[in-house]
């Protein structure tokens, strides 16, 4: 099966993202460190499948956010996000 058929929206892993962030970030605006594109986190492309969460930029395909559970910790690599703007009231 093609990996393209497996991919989901960032919105699909909103539950797992709550292991990392204190609030829902699917409506937050993320800027890609690679190409500068701004997308809502819910609109990023998700390729994780069991291993954890891998969110890629729909514009340039760079990995923006990686969340992996390993050895009793949750590991977050957000080096692909240069800015995250979370709406607040």
């Amino acid at each position: 099966m093609q990996t393209e058929e497996m991919r989901l929206d960032g919105n699909a892993v909103a539950g797992s993202l709550l292991d990392v962030f204190a609030v829902d970030v699917t409506a937050a605006l993320a800027t890609c460190a690679g190409c500068g594109a701004e997308r809502l986190v819910g609109a990023l492309l998700e390729y994780g499948h069991g291993m954890g969460v891998v969110l890629r930029c729909p514009g340039c395909d760079a990995v923006m956010l990686r969340v992996v559970r390993a050895g009793g910790s949750v590991r977050v690599d957000a080096s692909g996000v240069s800015l995250l703007a979370i709406p607040s009231d």
Partner: protein, 252 residues
């Protein structure tokens, strides 16, 4: 481990199945009573977790079909043969059984009727589920509010028997503010006069709102269908920011 170090985490809760309803030969609706449920938004989902006796876990997402105004949570699951989770939810679970869920989840694929303006919903197969929550939410609003948010639905299903919520959709379509188009891709009844093909550019143009009306658009279903419909909508002139997608994964 220090649980407090991970804030915001959604707790898993054991929901109770309070009703089971057959929708089509391949899909059924489970109505759940979830303790301490906080009202959801139309379009959100829950995560479901199954744990085997040997500790093996399987987790999947299922959209919420019920309106935010309803107190119980309805999920509609389509059975995928020889798969891990959906056959259990479709064939094994009974009224009174427990099911581990967490939710409501997701702040991106959500819609509120107070966000007035035209709405275009595009579904493939079980992708109708979160869009049904939006239609049910719309149906519960006051007449003037509904009039401000007219809805068009394009729903692609394999056959007439595979159309989930068929009778309810027919009833909803009686409203002057709701327009329902069903497209059948494989088998159609002999007297079928509707569309008999996959969603294409002409169908989206004919059944949706023109881009000049700047509708909010929600597309949901198998990943290949969602990606094709979303790019056709952008090609028709819709602003990509207004085209929200919920990919369900492969078509099997």
């Amino acid at each position: 481990m220090a649980r407090a170090a991970i804030p915001g985490r959604l707790d898993w809760r054991v929901a109770t199945v309070v009703d089971v309803r057959t929708e089509t030969p391949r899909a059924r609706t489970l109505t759940l009573d979830v303790p301490d449920w906080s009202a959801h938004k139309a379009g959100q989902h829950v995560d479901v977790r199954l744990v085997a006796e040997d500790g093996y876990q399987a987790q999947r997402s299922y959209s919420i079909a019920s309106a935010p105004e309803e107190s119980s949570v309805a999920l509609t699951i389509e059975r995928i043969d020889a798969a891990e989770v959906s056959p259990y939810l479709c064939d094994v679970l009974r009224v009174g059984d427990g099911l581990e869920v967490r939710g409501p989840i997701g702040g991106y694929f959500v819609w509120d009727v107070m966000q007035a303006g035209p709405l275009f919903l595009v579904a493939g197969g079980s992708g109708i589920v979160p869009l049904m929550a939006m239609l049910r939410h719309h149906a519960r609003a006051s007449e003037p509010t509904r009039a401000e948010a007219p809805v068009k639905l394009l729903y692609s299903a394999r056959s007439w028997d595979d159309v989930i919520y068929r009778e309810e959709l027919e009833r909803l379509a009686d409203s002057p503010y709701v327009d329902v188009t069903i497209a059948l891709t494989r088998d159609a009844p002999a007297d079928w006069r509707g569309h008999r093909r996959r969603i294409d550019r002409a169908m989206l143009e004919e059944t949706g709102w023109p881009a000049s009306r700047t509708p909010r658009i929600f597309v949901c279903g198998p990943t290949p269908l969602v990606e094709s419909a979303a790019s056709l909508l952008v090609a028709l002139g819709h602003d990509p920011v207004h085209v929200r997608t919920e990919r369900f994964g492969p078509t099997g």
